[in-house]
Symmetry: C2
Subunit: 384 residues, 2 copies
């Protein structure tokens, strides 16, 4: 989930050719909310410029790794600093490169992305609070250990239970929600803030109360070089090859575990599957191959590829049959990532008569702000 | 929670004067379980030697920071390596120092300690599995967000609910369990494996099923220099000065939140408070000041200081009165930390007639293995 933040900054907001400026910036800088408590840096200002800082008097060269490497400037005391142009809103992974070594910023909270505990910076989107913790009833995120016979290993699921779960006898529908390559079961809450998105939607009456199961879809091995993706363009279906075991674990272990331990409804009309990037590929693959188990499929920035007649083993070949089975098929993409593939696929689905919802997230890339918005758009359509 | 692992290695196991050896070590090295998935380093072998490695061809100097700084050795390809002498069992924080900058190891999972997302390495204790995930019923760890009016901020509690919680109407006793300075609400499960300790004790019938509430006791500000404690020797009571707000939050917000949202028993005989290091100080302070609310107090590596007649506002001055109120007072310390203070206090309590349980953890320091063992010893005594 490599950030394209800097590229975007250029294309959307900054003067051409000016990547970084050390000039004085008027608006006040404040510590990013994605920092560990007490860390003054990185900072962000109202113009969405970020300022990174690290003390490294003995280092020869310090770079910021944020959508590419950018040289930082050393002052007399050995403190290296960089101030970016305005960044795209949302969450961006980043790191420092200290004399050639890619390392996390000690000031940042750590977020599992690109198969390591990366740094990340949250850039607030003005006027947007759908993923904030607000004064509404809150669900819980439960960490549930379980042993997988298929993988012969202990695993853990992150399971969101909606507000009021403990004080009712209601049985709830379930959304299975997958992270991207190089991420894990923590991503949707740590980076994506999925629990707060659901809390807010449910409080507003916009989404039905539901259980959300976030598990580990594998795929960390895709990232052989820490700090950056080795391959796997969105929608490439690469997740299929490396993660076939996950489909088996989901169908044969996770779903039975959830349905025997939680008040989960257990019919296809009450199960949805969605994911981002590699997880979108998994949602498409597992969802279409198991339409007896899932009536809702969401693919955020991935999986929307091929020909409607033949893709996913031809499950959409007969549009009428498919439309009767898939109650909602949701496809999303950021306008600043590889939008053309999804856009073309969307047009082909229209031509082929496949009912679906198509969403382009304006101004965001292959990053979490696209996926937060996608979940915010997808969840209200479920279980109606 | 600075590791004293290397010091211990010297004192217990290694030849005097030989801190590190690069010599061939026979026993096979395997990736530590504390790594991120797929990371080959750090490794640990059956002799409890650890091998750390980082690729840094352009760096002038790379050190391992594990109970002090130790120079690593660069090979022709720019890979820096170090193999330690046998380490003390348990969990040790560590980091790399790359050309003078203290950074996390990209191969490690990240653990909040010393107020940053530190690296950590798990050194297995042969034949000991009380903190392993085993084939027993498992509880859940629930992440619960709540708004604190006292601190005017969103906070989150980590709440362990025991196996079977969702399938009964039982009301459970509650242990409030605190981390140390520079740590947070994640520490007792991430580093301490408290949930697995409780699962195993409950399955064996050794501990009563209970809820365990792990919240943020503050104290990160103690660590102004990242990577090491700025002050606060164990038992110094330093936690009191910086964290007085926490007592208020616990009593007025956390306990009511827990008791209104969980099936928690709500009388003093069913509440316990314990903690480690700074958290031990908090357990002593809050517990003794609120004996109407807590009947059980556990202080692991902290808080055991002063004179029985006067300590903690003289609550123990009358031994008989105190003994009638405090059903269990548990004091523990590692033999390789500042053991003398706790040992002396224990003797004074004996002389003064204060009933208590005193435990010295053999061969472990001011680290998590001492505290895992302490929880394992303390939990079975509760709510009898």
């Amino acid at each position: 989930m490599k950030t394209a933040a800097m590229v975007l900054a250029l294309s959307l907001l900054a003067s051409p050719g000016v990547m970084f400026s050390q000039a004085a910036v008027d608006a006040a800088f404040k510590a990013a909310t994605s920092n560990v408590p007490g860390a003054e840096y990185p900072q962000i200002n109202m113009d969405r410029r970020a300022r990174f800082r690290v003390s490294a008097p003995q280092a020869e060269k310090v770079e910021l790794n944020l959508g590419g490497r950018h040289l930082m400037t050393k002052d007399q005391t050995g403190v290296w600093t960089i101030t970016t142009d305005p960044l795209v809103v949302g969450f961006h992974y980043y790191s420092f490169v200290i004399d050639g070594v890619n390392v996390a910023d000690p000031g940042s909270e750590a977020y599992f992305g690109s198969s390591w505990m990366s740094s990340g910076i949250e850039v607030p989107e003005p006027g947007v609070d759908f993923y904030d913790a607000k004064n509404v009833p809150h669900g819980e995120v439960r960490v549930r250990p379980y042993f997988s016979k298929i993988s012969n290993a202990w695993r853990q699921a992150y399971i969101y239970t909606p507000p009021g779960y403990d004080n009712s006898n209601t049985r709830y529908p379930v959304l299975y929600l997958q992270h991207g390559a190089g991420e894990d079961e923590r991503g949707w809450t740590m980076q994506g803030r999925a629990n707060f998105i659901l809390d807010n939607l449910i409080a507003a009456g916009k989404a039905k109360p539901m259980i959300v199961v976030m598990d580990n879809g594998g795929g960390s091995a895709l990232f052989v070089n820490r700090g950056g993706p080795a391959a796997a363009a969105p929608g490439s279906g690469r997740g299929n090859a490396v993660n076939s075991q996950f489909a088996d674990i989901l169908i044969r272990e996770i779903i039975p575990m959830v349905e025997s331990n939680y008040r989960a409804r257990n019919d296809r009309a009450n199960r949805a599957i969605a994911g981002l990037s590699m997880g979108a590929g998994q949602a498409w693959q597992i969802g279409t191959a198991n339409l007896d188990k899932f009536a809702y499929i969401g693919g955020f920035s991935g999986g929307a590829t091929g020909e409607p007649e033949t893709a996913y083993n031809g499950v959409m070949a007969n549009a009428k049959t498919f439309n009767n089975r898939a109650k909602v098929l949701y496809i999303s993409i950021g306008t600043e990532e590889n939008v053309q593939g999804a856009r073309t696929f969307h047009q082909k689905l229209d031509q082929h008569g496949i009912k679906h919802v198509y969403f382009e997230s304006p101004g965001t890339a292959h990053e979490w702000q696209t996926w937060r918005r996608s979940l915010y758009g997808f969840a209200p359509l479920l279980f109606r």
